[in-house]
């Protein structure tokens, strides 16, 4: 677990602390996903005494989702926009697949990095297919290749290629626009995706659906993803790793969600993740991961849940049934086991939340 509560003192000049890795020239063909390293990243705006980001270092392994979360003023969006050089870096370095982003033309770099923002920013004058084809066209792909890729992405994001492809953004629902935004960002198969509150403008019901869809999609495409949100629940759900930033651009904790919920680094993190962090942790695992009690021939009754339900939902179901045991069923509706209040409640203690 890194904790960068205190800015790491920088030694000597701004030369990089790590030896150079293999250098590749020009627009290299990245693998499907690439490791992202932020190395003593610093951002100062002229005329401001305090830096927006004083010293941020973190590494996102290839194929993982890193969620940047924090209150407003914590610099999470700034940090994300430094990565594709939408905001120029003041100090430190950022490497994608071992190669410094500073070595590449910003426009060339950005074509290799998927970009999704909250308002999505679809081009209103272009059809869905044309929108998705944006980066492939900039890269000069053949029209037949673009057409095939567009179709593939529409299907991947659960949109009907024949029906939706020819529509204009104004003819789509909010959820559909969001899916098109993700499809557009994935078009050229970038090794890294940047997503700035991508589901922030969506109503709660559709947001959950889009989050689930994105996780399914991510399980297939396995991109390195930097995901910005201010919502800790979304961070816990989406992130393989969570970077919690606090005001002034300081990294309070960078770790896996279970670890952050179990061992918050400090008071700020503990407050930020909420007093119900033990329950939130239960939301990270499903009943399938649990050693259930033997069913002893029980039939599925009113109080039942599938094995894919989270332990948090199971606890909630048991409590609302007045403590009666829950029957857990598989995909075919057959009972696979029982979950009792004792069994579920025991898990709350097992993680040993830190004493306060």
């Amino acid at each position: 677990m890194h904790s960068a509560g205190q800015p790491t003192p920088q030694t000597g000049d701004s030369s990089l602390p790590r030896p150079h890795t293999a250098q590749s020239e020009g627009p290299s063909a990245f693998p499907q996903a690439a490791e992202l390293e932020l190395i003593h990243v610093e951002k100062r705006y002229p005329g401001q005494r305090q830096p927006a980001i004083p010293d941020l270092s973190l590494t996102v392994p290839a194929g993982e989702v890193c969620v940047l979360v924090g209150p407003s003023g914590s610099g999470k969006t700034t940090a994300m926009r430094l990565i594709n050089r939408m905001i120029p870096l003041s100090g430190g370095d950022i490497r994608l697949g071992g190669e410094s982003i500073l070595k590449r033309e910003p426009t060339e770099l950005r074509k290799q990095i998927g970009y999704v923002i909250q308002q999505i920013g679809l081009f209103p004058h272009q059809t869905v297919s044309e929108n998705i084809a944006t980066v492939p066209r900039l890269l000069g792909w053949h029209s037949s290749r673009i057409e095939g890729r567009t179709r593939e992405l529409l299907e991947l994001t659960g949109l009907d290629a024949g029906e939706i492809g020819a529509r204009y953004p104004a003819q789509l629902s909010g959820g559909q626009r969001q899916r098109v935004g993700v499809a557009r960002a994935l078009a050229a198969d970038p090794p890294l995706m940047l997503m700035d509150e991508p589901f922030g403008a969506i109503d709660p019901i559709n947001r959950v659906r889009l989050q689930d869809e994105f996780l399914r999609l991510q399980a297939q495409v396995r991109k390195t993803v930097v995901f910005v949100t201010h919502d800790i629940d979304e961070a816990i759900k989406m992130g393989d790793r969570i970077a919690i930033l606090r005001e002034g651009g300081h990294l309070a904790q960078y770790d896996r969600p279970e670890e952050i919920l179990t061992n918050p680094a400090d008071e700020f993190v503990a407050q930020f993740v909420g007093a119900d962090r033990a329950l939130k942790r239960l939301g990270l695992s499903t009943l399938a991961e649990l050693e259930l009690l033997a069913p002893n021939g029980r039939q599925p009754d009113e109080n039942r849940l599938p094995v894919t339900a989270t332990i948090r939902d199971a606890l909630s179901a048991v409590l609302s049934a007045g403590g009666a045991p829950l029957t857990v069923v598989d995909g075919d509706g057959a009972v696979v086991g029982l979950a009792t209040l004792e069994l579920l409640g025991g898990l709350l203690k097992a993680g040993e939340p830190p004493e306060r």
Binding site: Y115, I117, L122, A185
Partner: protein, 247 residues
């Protein structure tokens, strides 16, 4: 007033219409004489209409080129906007009758089509500049941000995103400018012997026979409506997304 030489020379009573033929309705000086119109269509009205179209198209085209250039400049460098607005607004407010008379004595202009075009162009600038600039500025920030974030250069953003999205505003400006120029170009007859203003001036100078005035006036109005309609069709063809709304 310093009238230019008129095409048909001075009126000869009772030949009010100025043409060679003399009709009953013309001699009786009815308000509108169809026979005069049909016999003077080829020698007077049709050439005047064609000249009017040429005057208008040249003025709008030059005005569009100048103001689009200025709008693109002001889009990149904000300080350009104020002086351009100031100058074009002054040009726009100069009374049109005075404008043609003011330009005429300038060296190189005189009684010529060039003089007429300079005046007409100056009336298009304010409208075209302001509409084009507004259109470019109204492109939503998130659309520009997404375009830049996907790796478009500023030039690609302008050509592929900003200009297409500004088209409705640009064409709206062209419609107003075109209708304005069609109307003002009738006054151009003061400095050049072209356009629908010529028969109108002839009719004004003979003071009695009104058919020529009415016919040329109606043609000018019809031309304005036609040009406006044409631009509406052009906009529909160029901006199909404007009609696409939630089904």
């Amino acid at each position: 007033m310093n009238f230019p030489p008129l095409a048909a020379g001075g009126p000869v009573i009772p030949n009010f219409g100025g043409g060679s033929a003399s009709f009953a309705c013309e001699r009786a000086n009815h308000l509108f004489c169809w026979n005069w119109v049909s016999s003077n269509w080829s020698p007077i009205l049709w050439p005047a209409l064609r000249q009017h179209v040429v005057l208008t198209v040249i003025a709008v085209a030059i005005g569009f080129a100048i103001s689009t250039g200025l709008a693109l400049l002001a889009h990149r460098r904000h300080w350009v906007e104020r002086p351009v607005i100031a100058v074009t607004a002054i040009l726009y407010t100069i009374p049109s009758l005075a404008m043609f008379e003011l330009l005429e004595p300038l060296p190189g202009l005189g009684l010529s089509r060039a003089t007429a075009e300079v005046a007409l162009v100056s009336y298009t600038l304010l409208i075209l500049f302001r509409n084009t600039l507004t259109g470019l500025r109204e492109v939503p920030d998130e659309v520009r941000d997404a375009a830049a974030g996907m790796g478009m250069s500023p030039r690609q953003i302008l050509v592929r995103v900003e200009l297409p999205l500004a088209l409705p505003a640009i064409i709206a400006g062209l419609r107003i400018a075109t209708v304005t120029v069609v109307a003002l170009a009738t006054i151009a007859a003061l400095v050049c012997d072209e356009g629908l203003g010529v028969p109108i001036l002839t009719a004004i100078s003979n003071d009695v026979f009104k058919t020529e005035l009415i016919a040329a006036g109606v043609l000018a109005v019809a031309l304005a409506l036609f040009a406006d309609g044409l631009l509406v069709i052009v906009q529909r063809l160029l901006t199909p997304w404007m009609r696409a709304r939630a089904a």
